[in-house]
Symmetry: C2
Subunit: 233 residues, 2 copies
């Protein structure tokens, strides 16, 4: 079977992605990245998914790289993760610059070395608002860069596979549900405490996704604040 | 002064690049990558150059990444580095897939985090023959990818600076000579033994560069084999 390399964080989106690829029968290789994220516990969920899908799984340690990168609350202990819904001004602080580009290019090197036909990423429509490296035009550009950067070495027709790029998180939950994904085996919360905090931007998005999908949310949350969506005010 | 991030291996090309950037007065930040290369001793030369130019210097450890990448003699102890001049068939084995793309994207993340206006790379015309990620069309594509991937976070007009992209190694030696670069403080040999082996592809290219530039080669070589340039037969 063709080999597929999927970048899987252990969150909902990439876990559904892994199931989707395994479901079509590809030989799945999962890469998870440790970039010093506060919510490093998500990686344990990725490992469990790999085990359940009988996939090859490598954890790539980029903590050395992230130490170089200043100013992001996802990697700095002394910057607090903002509560509430994602909004450009408050969530800019959660941006690790060029993060997807680094992960996609490392994954492409690995894919080239094992002769895989694709690198799959779970970026989705809801990410576009804040993160420039989650937008369709970026995915197109990085695909072109990788095609040229591995020319003659990667598989012919090698490409970046981003099936959720125009979908919502609700769409992804529905797809995962149809694929039989156990969402209790995924982790979203940026705070990385014992259970999902329920208050941070990713917890808020996670809850909305289940509501949008019309599927019962099996997640245990520490708190359920009454937020106002800043996009709707 | 504007900040510039240069990828400096400790070889001739990137060392001249560092001098060139320091010469125009930019605030120079040098990144050197340890990707498990056999010739890791080149990094000590990069460090010495940073000291002499009063530049910030970070060494980025990618050995964890390179362990994932199979099949390149630059990182595998059990694959021999081929002797003789570079030729597509023999030197393919020295390709670390997508290496420049990984380094450029990590450097771009760092550049974004410190507000630098550019990432500089010493890729040159002579690299095009074998390495797809040293070609002008790749540099243009990775520049587009990084621009889109850091949009709104990197400096306006941020770009990849590749001043040698259409120059020969002889041109670079001449430029370095004019800038006062001490070429004994640079390392080329892929074998990474005590002194330059004189027999591998990079040693061959190093010698040719000085001949082409018409400048005395100060390098001590272990051997001087009588090669035939396969490009001229």
């Amino acid at each position: 079977m063709p080999k597929s390399v999927a970048i899987v964080s252990g969150g909902m989106d990439s876990t559904v992605l892994a199931h989707l690829i395994a479901d079509v029968g590809y030989d799945l290789h999962m890469l998870s990245f440790n970039y010093g994220q506060r919510h490093v516990k998500e990686l344990a969920y990725a490992k469990a998914t790999a085990r359940s899908l009988d996939a090859v799984h490598h954890e790539v340690d980029l903590t050395n790289v992230s130490k170089l990168l200043q100013g992001s609350s996802l990697t700095s202990d002394d910057i607090a993760v903002p509560d509430g819904h994602y909004a450009a001004e408050t969530m800019r602080i959660t941006v690790v610059p060029n993060r997807n580009a680094m992960m996609l290019n490392i994954a492409a090197a690995y894919a080239t070395s094992i002769g895989a036909i694709q690198v799959a990423t779970g970026v989705h429509g809801g990410d576009h608002y804040i993160y420039p490296d989650c937008r369709p035009e970026f995915i197109k550009a990085v695909d072109a860069s990788i095609t040229l950067g591995t020319l003659g070495f990667s598989k012919p027709n090698f490409s970046i596979y981003a099936p959720f790029i125009t979908q919502t998180k609700g769409d992804i939950v529905r797809m995962g549900h149809n694929l039989g994904v156990d969402f209790t085996q995924t982790w979203s919360c940026y705070k990385g405490t014992d259970i999902h905090c329920g208050s941070c931007g990713t917890c808020f998005e996670r809850r909305e996704a289940f509501i949008e999908a019309g599927i019962t949310d099996p997640t245990e949350y520490a708190a359920t604040p009454d937020y106002v969506d800043p996009r709707k005010t």
